[in-house]
Symmetry: C2
Subunit: 277 residues, 2 copies
């Protein structure tokens, strides 16, 4: 079910600036047993994005109520919240007083086999490079053509995700997940001040595992890592099994983060918690 500005509807004005210019933000939030363990972090990022784009902030309390309504009684779903700058005249100038559009919709949780959680996924190495744009880096805005182009590079279902770099040869992320690498025994996740989306699952793991470093991660270092895994607020922690000829085995850091994910209340891949690392 979908709500637009609080009303059941499945369409928006063709003059919405979200459509005209991608002038807005979104969040995809996983609900489990009616709870959204990372809700506060999603709201925090949404507010930060609104501040960056100077879009009036939506009321988090109202969004929570609308999430309940959109769920239609389901307790396990992915909620997408989209906030745009609303209607606009033709032209880039933002209206002096914006009346944002709020879209709240529930979707099924994607099915990911336990095997992928236990053994890991293979990554396609994307040719698409993320552009440096510090003004837009980190926030989850609606200008996502880079991710669309990167994701369109492969259709082989054998690849579970793609590895994206910036134009300086730094590993940045997957198309829809963040990247962690264990380098010389230290967990590292790429700095995202010039490109990339600062994921909510990443933020949760950084808070729970303060030994993680956030820094530039040259691709070579990432490929030589002893562990490589992805974080996503929808899919949780996914070990990487291979990038091209480089192969990886799931290791203790990724397993600990998977356990933390389960401890948050997400019911994924229970298998891995009962198998030895």
């Amino acid at each position: 079910m979908m709500l637009i500005n609080g009303q059941p509807s499945d369409s928006v004005s063709a003059l919405d600036r979200g459509l005209s210019y991608g002038d807005g933000l979104f969040e995809t939030i996983r609900f489990e047993q009616g709870a959204a363990p990372l809700w506060a972090r999603h709201m925090q990022r949404l507010v930060a994005g609104c501040e960056r784009l100077r879009i009036p902030q939506p009321d988090a309390e109202l969004l929570w109520q609308e999430a309940q309504q959109a769920s239609g009684g389901q307790t396990r779903f992915v909620l997408r919240i989209t906030v745009t700058r609303g209607l606009g005249e033709r032209g880039y100038a933002p209206p002096a007083v914006a009346l944002p559009t709020r879209i709240v919709a529930a979707f099924p949780v994607p099915v990911i086999s336990n095997e992928l959680y236990t053994d890991g996924i293979r990554l396609h190495r994307c040719r698409t490079m993320l552009a440096d744009q510090p003004l837009l880096a980190g926030i989850k805005h609606l200008n996502r053509l880079e991710q669309v182009l990167a994701r369109a590079e492969w259709s082989d279902p054998g690849f579970g995700e793609g590895l994206l770099c910036d134009s300086h040869g730094h590993a940045i992320s997957a198309t829809a997940a963040n990247l962690f690498a264990v380098v010389d025994g230290v967990p590292v996740t790429p700095a995202l001040d010039r490109c990339g989306v600062a994921g909510v699952a990443r933020a949760e793991m950084l808070a729970a595992f303060p030994q993680c470093q956030v820094r530039d991660l040259p691709l070579g270092e990432a490929l030589r890592a002893s562990e490589l895994f992805l974080s996503s607020s929808v899919r949780g922690i996914l070990p990487v099994q291979a990038v091209g000829d480089n192969v990886y085995a799931p290791g203790p850091v990724g397993r600990a983060m998977q356990q933390h994910w389960l401890d948050l209340g997400f019911r994924d891949a229970l298998a891995y918690s009962t198998r030895p690392a």
Copy 2:
């Protein structure tokens, strides 16, 4: 009046990938006395954009018919055509078979005083820098947050446009127009292979004035130009009067391009053609 996929309507699905990811393209096409002198160039750019993003191309003949219908009998208007990849499931992966969404809508032509065409406009120097993304450069896609941020930098109506640079200190364009500078007697317009939109009015002027150079244009060179002016398929050729403390007088190259614009059939700023340059 607005047509969505050929039907009178003013709304699109909230699941359209144009809204979700800015996954699409647009054109704004000026009609004058029922004709669109740059129609063929607009269609050419739209097709190039569709090829780049691998969106099925719309039928130009059909778009022309829909333009007539959307005009509602007006003969002078700006037509916006938006083409998106259409509906999508959640996730960046493009659907194997895309059914594009086509939005055709007519808007009034913005009123620009003769004074601005004769004496020129002042430019705000934007702090927002355009990111290098060769995969998206040149085409008129829907990911326009950089332009929105740049345009939001000023509200003083004394500025008619903003001057945008890339991160290497090259002048690139205005927020919604292309840039020409006369440097050492030679007209130059910035190369747009890493960022910027390759404007249709720019293409027309390059064809009509083959002495123009297309190359990287360091900001310093642009500011020292003997003439500076903008090209836009909606607003035509607008001289630049000032960028900060740098002042410019309209000169023979810009005047010749303004005359060419009039010769195409656009009825703007007839005053300047009767005044000495």
